[in-house]
Structure formats: structure tokens, C-alpha cells
Symmetry: C2
């Protein structure tokens, strides 16, 4: 039995205001070609097919086209679940009309866990399709008041699957959740390795999945295994943020033998345009060859640069962001924290910060004294205004 | 060959702020029962399945459930096209995955007109599925600059169908358009019967369809035939406005013989709650038995009634609108025209209109004189304000 494991397509995604639809079509084309060449028995999509509940029609078209190629033309079943970005109800539409053709989509949670059986020469493999669901929905479905967290919900779902399953056959879990290698009782054992379990209600203990021959997960964008070799995130098909710069995006080709042992190959997808950081002085940067990547530029110039984005785009026409190293972003980024702090700063502190932001270096004592003199003079001249108004005046 | 012809479901429709979803489920349940009893060879839905491009999830669920019952449980093919209220792309999703199961949905226009063939003991019947489309889309698809109106587009589409069709077999056209019995050259023959052709670019000449054995139309909410017995609107499944009060809603059961001759039976759908007008004095109305219908109440009282909606709802809990006969609406309705006119009225005219609105009868000369006296007195007293301000004052 051979299947592909992918997830987090996020069709309809905007990155820094740019629609990724063409980039998605580009890598999904490679994905479909791989289906054609490798002839897997099934393709798993572990949630977040779309980036939002009501995706743009271009995204709807793209999914329709990709599914048509895989399911109709290549006659390869697709097993997909809704992720937290998908609308359960909208994604579910037509599920009963499409499944006999091989597109198995579970959007809405039901306590009768949807289950698809595929066979190879060694017997059956059971694929259990569990969409992302709020714990309250699982609580209501099972009428079990003890279900409060995602972890509780998953424990119940796995119990339900196991109670209806033959342990002599092979089982694959398909889910979309925040799975960590730490059980509740172990939560305090290691301070340095628990970042994912912080927050409590969101995380799901990977131990629940230990009896499955393979667990195909979606939600986290970096491909990795959790706890065991056979519990895995495939990661997203594209970098969707500069924080994913170092990721190597792709999907898994999983081969399962008659014992349920898996061998896993990672197949990379080549993006139409990479998302990456460029660090350089403007002068050097302008000598680079023209490049179409979605670059985030960090300028190393000490002096301020006029119209930096305009200059950068003469070399990187798809540049998404420009900033100066060690200074507050010039072009984008949320700085509401910085704003809040500024309202608490003294006039001289504000000047120091402003000087550093613009010049990139600390203000000298001489310059700071000069500023204080000018400020005092201004404040004296302005003797008809109230103190509060003075402060306003200096600040604006 | 027997098929049902329905259209204009408008799932997700709000009437006067009330979601019609339960009412739609109620009549669609009767529709599905009729499919079960009558066992037609196909069900035609001639557009406007949804009321808007992004319908609420409840509407998506309802369509999914109805299609599952008709197509999967009752194994009856459904042939549907997008109407002007549907999103072509969203409705089209999954069309290639669902058609082999019997759900044929055409959302996006393509110059290769989608065409479904069903057979009976006499041979083939060809169903041609033409979604609502802007003429510019048809112009681009056929690269024909002459296509400017819906009529031009339909002429081209019918030519295209006929050029690929055998005239020895039977053909059914499924479309969503504003079809009238008047050809262009006849446009000036009858002033009294041309209301539908006013506007020009919207209307489609029914003569285009004369070669089809049946034309199943959607768009107009009243069931009727156009030009010929076999060119028909099924009308909507429910009354969606008080202007549709007199309509008898339902669908057609069409039986086609080997010659392509049709016999048509209209089957009515019984609404959960009727939409109708109630005319009465408040006193009489309060003696009516409690009734769940969506009534539009016209009060015949000459004197104004306090809290009319509250009183009406003690008898008609789902009342949608209350007004007094011959006066401007008390509760709802757009009166922006009236507002505009009021700004041009003199103070005395305004008083006359106000009096009539509240009392339901014209003001007497005595009362009008009394008003003038009081107004003059007020204006004299108010001698420090400017003219403009006076006017404002009197008006508010």
C-alpha cells in the first residue's frame, strides 16, 4: 500500500497582500505529476485545503481542477478532512455525491467516524478521517461532559475508532490538530522542550496515536515527526510566511508493508518563487541580477535610504518587505506595542529613540544637549498653552 | 420519458428579515416525496438554487441533503444550471466528480454546451444545460463581437446546440433567462402586452426555443408558459414576496412521448406558512384565531392604532408587515422618494400630508386654519433665529 500525505494547502491565501494562487497551482501541478508517476493507492490531505471559510472563486476553481485530475483522470482516491481554516459545512457539500467516485471529504464532525477501506495484496487498510473540530462539538456528539480540551476529544475519538476496529488489520489516522509528544503526566519534566504544550486546551498528546500504523497530520507548517517515526506532519506545500524561510516544503510518500511497517520518503516541491531574506547594503543589492522571488530585504546601510522599496523592486520586483537591520520596520509590521510604549517615554527618550531609528546609531551627548536647548526654547515661547497641550505639541 | 421541472429555490433567502430555510425544507420534503412516488427519469432545476453567491451554511446543508436524497437514495439524476443569483464558480465545484453519480450541475458557461443524454424505450432525449451568463462571457467564448444582449447570446447558443444535434432525436433546453413571447421585429406591435420586453438587453425571444421539445426555464417566479405550451417557467417553490401572493407555487411533471409531444401536470407545493394579505379593522383582527402565516396586515381603522405590530402579533405571531389602508407604511418599506418630495413641500402641505397619514382622512379647512395660526405665532415668537433655522425648527 502506497499513499501520499500532504496538508495545509491554504488555497486562497494572501501573503503580504499577494494572492498565492498561481504559486499554489505551480506546486500542485508537480504534486499531480508525482501522483501520475508514482501511482499511489491514495492521496491524503490532512486539512486546511482552503485558507478561509469562504475562499475566493479562483481557489475553488484550483481545488476543483486538482481534484478532477487526481480523482477522475488518474483514478486515485483522495481522503481529505477539514482543517481549522476550512468551513466544515461548505467543504462537506457533495461529500456523499463524490465519495463513490473516490473523493472522500469529511467537513462536519460526526461520532460515526468516517472510515475508508482500501485493499492491497496483504489485506485491508482502514483510513479514519477526523476533521478539525471544536471540543464542544465532540462533547455534544458523544454526550460526554468530561470532554473539555482537544486532547480529551481526541482520546474519545481514538477510543471510538478502536472499539469498532479489528486490531489485526492496518489503520491510518487522518487528523488536523496541534499534536505534541508530551503526555499530561509528563508535562513538567522538561522545561526546554515543551513550547508546544503551553496553552493546554489546544494541544493533543501524540501517545493517543501510538496504535495506528500511520498518523497523517495537518496544522503545523513544518514537516516533522512527533514522538514516533510514523506520526507526522507533512507541512504546508509552500512557505506562507518569512518565519518558514528555512522549511523544505513537500509531501511524504508512505509505503506500508503487510505488517503495517512504513517506509517514508520526503518529496520536495519546487516553488515558483521562493520566500527568503536578502541582507545587503543598498549599493550591493542594486548589483544583484533581477530575481522574481518574494524577498524580505534587510538593508545593512547605516544611513537612511530614500524610497527603499522602489529601489529594491528594480532588482526584486516581487519584494514583500524592506527594513533596516536592527531598526524598527520601515515599511510594514505591527508596531502597536512600540506605540504604547512611546506614550510613556519622556521627550528626551523619544528623541533618543527617533535618532536611533533614523540614523541607526546612538545619539551623542552633544547632539542630545542641543536638542534639549531647542526644546526648552520652544516650550518657553509657547507660554500660553497648558502643560498638556505643550506635551501634545512637542509630540506631534 | 418523465421529468420534473422546478427552479428558483433561492435557498438562503431572507424575506422581510426572516430566513426561509425551514419553509424551504418543508416544501422540498414534499418535492422529494413526489420524486419517490412518481419515479421521474430526471429532475431539472433551472437556476437560482441559492439566493446569493455565498449562501449561509444552512442553505448549503439543505441543498446537500436534498440532492443526497434525490440522487443517491432515489437514484434520480438531477440536471441543474446556475441562475443569476448563484455564484457560477462555487456552484460548479465538484461538477465533474458528481456527474457520474447523476448530479449534473453547470455553473460556469462554456461554449461546449453541457449535454446529458437519457434514454427511454423510444430512444434518446438530449438535455442541454445552459447556465445564466452575462452576454460578454458568451461573446468572448465564441469570439463573436456581434453578441451584445442576452437575446444575441441565446441565439448563438441555440445555433451551437442545433449544429451539434440530430433533429431526429428529442431535445430539452434548460436555461435561466428573461424570456418573452416577442421577437425583435414584433416589438412595436402591442403596447399593452410588452412589459417584459422593456429594457431591451435583458429579454430573450421565446422563438429561439421553438425547435426544442421542451424548454425548462427559471428566473420568473410565477409559473407560466411563454409563446408555446412547451416553453415554460416552473416558478419558485415558495412565495418570496407579497407581490407573489396570488401565485400557486409548485412544479411541473412533464411526460414526453416518442414524438416528443409533452403532457404537463402542475403539482402544487403546500407551504409551511403562507404569505398573504389580511385586511381588517384591528378590533376584528384580534378576534381571528391564532395563525402562523407570514401575513402582511392592512388595517382598515380610520383612527391611528397604537403599537399595531405588537397587537397584530398576538394573533399572527409571524406577521411581516403592518400598514393602514391608503396611508404610507407604518412599519416598513422604502420611503426615500417620499422623503425627497417632503423636502420640497411647504409647511402647510407637510401638515396636510402628516394629518392624512395619521388620521387616514383629509384635514378640514377649520383644522388647517388652526394649524396656520399656531405656526404663525410660533414663527413670530422665534424672531431671533434665521429663516433657515426656522424652517429646520418647524420641520423637526
Amino acid at each position: 500500500m502506497k499513499f501520499f500525505h500532504t496538508a495545509d494547502w491554504h488555497l486562497g491565501k494572501l501573503v503580504q497582500g499577494v494572492y498565492m494562487t498561481e504559486d499554489q497551482a505551480y506546486v500542485l501541478n508537480q504534486f499531480v505529476q508525482a501522483v501520475e508517476e508514482e501511482k499511489p493507492d491514495a492521496v491524503i490531505i490532512a486539512g486546511d485545503l482552503y485558507d478561509r471559510a469562504v475562499p475566493p472563486t479562483e481557489a475553488v476553481h484550483l481545488l476543483d481542477e486538482v481534484l478532477e485530475r487526481i480523482v477522475i483522470e488518474l483514478k486515485t482516491p483522495v481522503l481529505a478532512v477539514a482543517g481549522n481554516h476550512d468551513s466544515p459545512g461548505r467543504l462537506h457539500f457533495g461529500s456523499s455525491l463524490m465519495k463513490s467516485n473516490g473523493y472522500h471529504i469529511v467537513g462536519n464532525f460526526s461520532k460515526e467516524i468516517e472510515h475508508v477501506v482500501l485493499e492491497d495484496e496483504h489485506g485491508k487498510v482502514h483510513f479514519h478521517l477526523v476533521p478539525y473540530t471544536d471540543p464542544s462539538v465532540v462533547r455534544t456528539a458523544f454526550e460526554d461532559e468530561e470532554i473539555k480540551t482537544h486532547n480529551d476529544a481526541t482520546r474519545k475519538i481514538v477510543e471510538q475508532i478502536q472499539s469498532n476496529s479489528s486490531s489485526n488489520e492496518r489503520h491510518v489516522y487522518i487528523g488536523h490538530a496541534f499534536v505534541t509528544p508530551f503526555g499530561e503526566e509528563e508535562e513538567n519534566t522538561s522545561d526546554s522542550e515543551r513550547p508546544l504544550s503551553i496553552g493546554g486546551a489546544e494541544y493533543v498528546d501524540a501517545h493517543h496515536f501510538s496504535s495506528f500504523q500511520y498518523t497523517a497530520l495537518g496544522h503545523l507548517h513544518q514537516a516533522h515527526q512527533v514522538l514516533q517515526e510514523n506520526i507526522r506532519y507533512s507541512g504546508s506545500i509552500l512557505k506562507y510566511s518569512i518565519s518558514e524561510e528555512s522549511h523544505r516544503k513537500g509531501f511524504f510518500i508512505v509505503e506500508m508493508d503487510q505488517e503495517g511497517e512504513v517506509t517514508i520518503e520526503k518529496r520536495e516541491l519546487k516553488p515558483r518563487r521562493d520566500i527568503r531574506t536578502v541582507e545587503a547594503k543598498m549599493e550591493e543589492l542594486l548589483e544583484h541580477p533581477v530575481n522574481e522571488d518574494y524577498v524580505f530585504v534587510r538593508l545593512l546601510d547605516e544611513a537612511p535610504v530614500l524610497s527603499p522599496m522602489e529601489k529594491v523592486r528594480s532588482v526584486y520586483p516581487n519584494a514583500m518587505h524592506v527594513e533596516r537591520k536592527n531598526v524598527i520596520s520601515l515599511v510594514s509590521g505591527s508596531d502597536s506595542d512600540a506605540r504604547t510604549n512611546r506614550t510613556k517615554m519622556s521627550d528626551v527618550d523619544l528623541f533618543r529613540a527617533f535618532y536611533k531609528e533614523i540614523k541607526g546609531i546612538d545619539v551623542t551627548v552633544e547632539t542630545e544637549n542641543l536638542f534639549k536647548e531647542v526644546l526648552d526654547e520652544l516650550l518657553r515661547k509657547d507660554n500660553e498653552t497648558t502643560d498638556a497641550e505643550k506635551k501634545e505639541y512637542v509630540r506631534n
